[in-house]
């Protein structure tokens, strides 16, 4: 194979995480000589999606090789006992995402994927219903024989979040007073930016306090609104100023790409697909890609030529470049951390994926939220800590996502509760979800992986001496794609090309576009 030794570059991008790959895409027509390397044998870094076998290998090695992930472990339950007959398909039938996230319709990432034309290479699917777990509903549900309308919005202890005004009106669980309070809030949030006087004083207060005091939204309705924020923090720590823009984003996104849904995800592996098309665009523009190639540590040193820096690669090769862009500006992960678990389930869990609306695409996934405090780890927990445990979020991916075979589904669970207690909380939530779905045979976990996922405490891009060494902060752990990643990419892009901002990721089609989309 060719060697990289003694080669000279304009830009060397280290790592193929989403941010670095979007930078590669942004630079793909710049005429710069670009080398894009990754020490892994796969693309995507923390946003990768791997087959089952690869994910198991990843779990074995990730603890030593990464500051981002830790405590990874795979569990394969004894299936012979369950006798469900369902078993894992071939490892290649799966595509396991390490940082699954929703993309809201108004996200600038989608706009840039369109303006850069790479969206044609991606297939986007609708994120379906949001569900909220309630520890109180099971008895009530059994006592009153539920009507059909009720049944469709209730599944065991899971309640479907109304997806719009009509849903609220048709809801038969809510009483009139509650509906009125909710409608009043929905009218407010449509234009909350223009009515700062309504919430200014509550800015730092918990969102739930604001809902109670300002709109008299009953406690039972606060959980679904909080669920829409996707806040990783407990109820008491989720402030009004954090929650309002997020609830507004959710509601304003509904209908942008079609009725009944507000967020999308890329088929076949979410952000890892975005990474793939971004890197391929850079390759088409002449960028050189080398996997299994990392920087040695320390790998960056000054060069005799003051405009250049010298990089030493792990296999001893030395290259020089005008710019180096890496990711992760802290040696170990900052305080921002999630416990995650991934569970392959022996059922499509179709009940969680009801049709969204007429003419709407069929939903590929659902979001299940276990509110703060709804799953007590131990009875004494509440007493000991005073504070409620943080919520658990589970993204339910059907086989439509291309991430698992038909007849199965994948549960991506996460919580901000750290360590073993976090993992315990996640497995409680997974069990509670599976037992809420009344199916025969009951859905079973076929395979699972858990790990802790860290991020940087500051999201600033760090510029180190020599000045042409830039380090992106690791992407946030937000379950909805955080557009600040694009601001960072744009900033680095601008430093490198020195161009005006309106040219960022705006490209013509490279290839003739035939009759698109019948």
């Amino acid at each position: 194979m060719e060697t990289l030794d003694k080669t000279k570059w304009d830009v060397v991008i280290v790592g193929t995480g989403l941010q670095q790959s979007l930078l590669a895409l942004a630079l793909s027509r710049s005429g710069k000589k670009i080398l894009h390397i990754d020490e892994n044998k796969y693309y995507g870094g923390a946003e990768a999606a791997l087959a089952l076998q690869e994910a198991e290998e990843w779990a074995q090695h990730v603890d030593t090789g990464s500051a981002t992930f830790s405590n990874a472990a795979v569990t394969t339950p004894e299936l012979s006992q369950s006798g469900s007959g369902q078993s894992l398909a071939s490892a290649r039938a799966y595509s396991i995402e390490f940082s699954p996230q929703l993309l809201y319709a108004r996200s600038s990432l989608l706009q840039y994927l369109v303006s850069s034309k790479v969206y044609r290479q991606l297939e986007f699917l609708a994120v379906g219903s949001f569900w909220v777990y309630s520890k109180d509903t099971s008895d009530a549900g059994d006592a009153s024989s539920p009507s059909t309308a009720e049944q469709s919005s209730r599944l065991g202890q899971l309640l479907k979040v109304p997806s719009g005004r009509e849903d609220v009106f048709q809801d038969q669980v809510l009483d009139f007073k509650a509906k009125r309070a909710l409608m009043k809030f929905l009218r407010f949030i449509a234009e909350y930016e223009e009515h700062t006087e309504e919430w200014e004083e509550h800015k730092e207060n918990p969102f739930s306090v604001f809902l109670t005091e300002k709109f008299r939204v009953p406690a039972a309705l606060q959980a679904p609104l909080l669920a829409l924020t996707l806040s990783p923090s407990g109820t008491a720590e989720t402030s009004t100023t954090y929650a309002l823009p997020r609830v507004a984003r959710h509601l304003r996104s509904i209908g942008v790409f079609g009725p009944g849904f507000g967020a999308v995800q890329a088929k076949w592996g979410g952000m890892s697909e975005v990474v793939q098309v971004a890197c391929r665009s850079c390759a088409v523009g002449g960028g050189v890609y080398v996997l299994g190639k990392g920087l040695s540590n320390p790998g960056v040193s000054a060069s005799e030529d003051s405009d250049m820096v010298t990089l030493r690669l792990k296999d001893g090769e030395t290259i020089s470049t005008k710019w180096v862009v890496e990711e992760g500006n802290e040696v170990s992960s900052g305080p921002s951390q999630l416990c995650r678990s991934i569970t392959v389930v022996s059922s499509p869990l179709a009940q969680l994926l009801p049709p969204l609306a007429e003419e709407a695409p069929s939903p590929a996934s659902a979001v299940v939220v276990f509110p703060s405090g709804s799953l007590p780890l131990r009875p004494e927990d509440a007493k000991e800590h005073g504070a409620e445990l943080p919520p658990v979020h589970i993204l339910v991916f059907s086989s439509d996502t291309g991430e698992c075979p038909a007849g199965q589904s994948i549960l991506y669970a996460s919580t901000s509760l750290p360590g073993d207690r976090g993992f315990q909380l996640l497995s409680m939530a997974v069990d509670a979800l599976l037992s809420s779905v009344k199916e025969s045979p009951s859905p079973a976990a076929l395979w699972s992986l858990r790990y802790e996922h860290g991020s940087d405490s500051s999201d600033d891009t760090v510029s180190q001496p020599p000045n042409h060494v830039l380090r992106f902060a690791r992407p946030s752990l937000d379950l909805a794609f955080d557009d600040s990643a694009l601001d960072r990419v744009k900033d680095v892009w601008q430093r490198i090309v020195g161009a005006g901002t309106d040219e960022f990721l705006v490209f013509e089609d490279r290839e003739p576009v035939g009759d698109e989309d019948e």
Partner: protein, 251 residues
């Protein structure tokens, strides 16, 4: 045949097709010929398309190929398995004037068997057939015409004493065809330059894609991964309604 003209309302499905093969065997040229009916002499490496689409109309259905070129990422062996993981078809290309390119093609076939979807349709394609002797090029796929080359023992890679400029063939049709049959691959010799057999390859692939794998995943029986593109689940980002959100939103 490949044709992007208006089609009768037939069932239509998308098929992801990946291109594989050594650098400079003419992968991109084959696709350019298929999609644009165009050929560029001395095309620069890696330039071109990473992604092209072209429809193929069959009597009972329309197949829309989504063709993924390697974009030059094969150079440092930096094509990761995700490139072909969800592909339903692969075109593995070698150069009939370069025996080492067939070896590389065989490597890719093995890699596909190991890493790609179990039901993937693979076509082995010997490109640059225009560089073979006149007699061979004009005939049907190397049945008799290339008998001479085939007969020469160890013709592969050997220096042909009688090689004049007219015949640069170094890979016997029979050799490659026997290998393709053994591995269950479709086999063609093509010329992106003249257009010979190019459309035929794609039509053959389209015909070989099992109808069952084109159904939506939920329609398919459980267990196996189904690769069919489910058009009713697809969200079209091009259809954004700039003012639409106001109406659709819950406020």
């Amino acid at each position: 045949m490949a044709d992007s003209g208006a089609a009768a309302p037939k069932p239509s499905s998308s098929v992801k097709l990946v291109l594989l093969g050594e650098a400079a065997v003419g992968k991109s040229s084959l696709v350019m010929r298929f999609v644009n009916n165009d050929f560029q002499e001395n095309k620069e490496p890696t330039i071109g398309a990473a992604f092209l689409t072209q429809k193929c109309n069959l009597p009972t259905r329309t197949i829309k190929f989504e063709i993924w070129d390697t974009a030059g990422q094969e150079r440092f062996a930096s094509l990761a398995p995700m490139y072909y993981r969800n592909a339903q078809a692969a075109l593995v290309v070698y150069d009939i004037t370069k025996p080492s390119s067939l070896t590389k093609a065989q490597h890719w076939v093995a890699e596909l068997h190991r890493q790609a979807s179990p039901g993937i349709v693979i076509a082995l394609v010997g490109n640059k057939a225009d560089l073979a002797a006149e007699a061979a090029a004009g005939d049907e796929l190397g049945d008799d015409a290339t008998e001479d080359t085939d007969a020469a023992p160890g013709a592969e890679g050997e220096e042909d004493a009688d090689a004049d400029n007219a015949d640069q063939r170094r890979v016997a049709t029979k050799t490659a065809k026997a290998y393709a049959e053994e591995e269950g691959l479709l086999f063609f010799e093509t010329s992106a330059k003249t257009g010979k057999n190019v459309a035929e390859v794609f039509t053959a692939i389209a015909n070989a894609i099992p109808e069952a794998s084109l159904k939506g995943p939920r329609g398919a029986a459980g267990g196996q991964s189904s690769l069919g593109r489910q058009e009713d689940a697809r969200v079209n980002l091009g259809s954004v309604r700039p003012e639409g959100a106001k109406e659709g939103c819950a406020c």
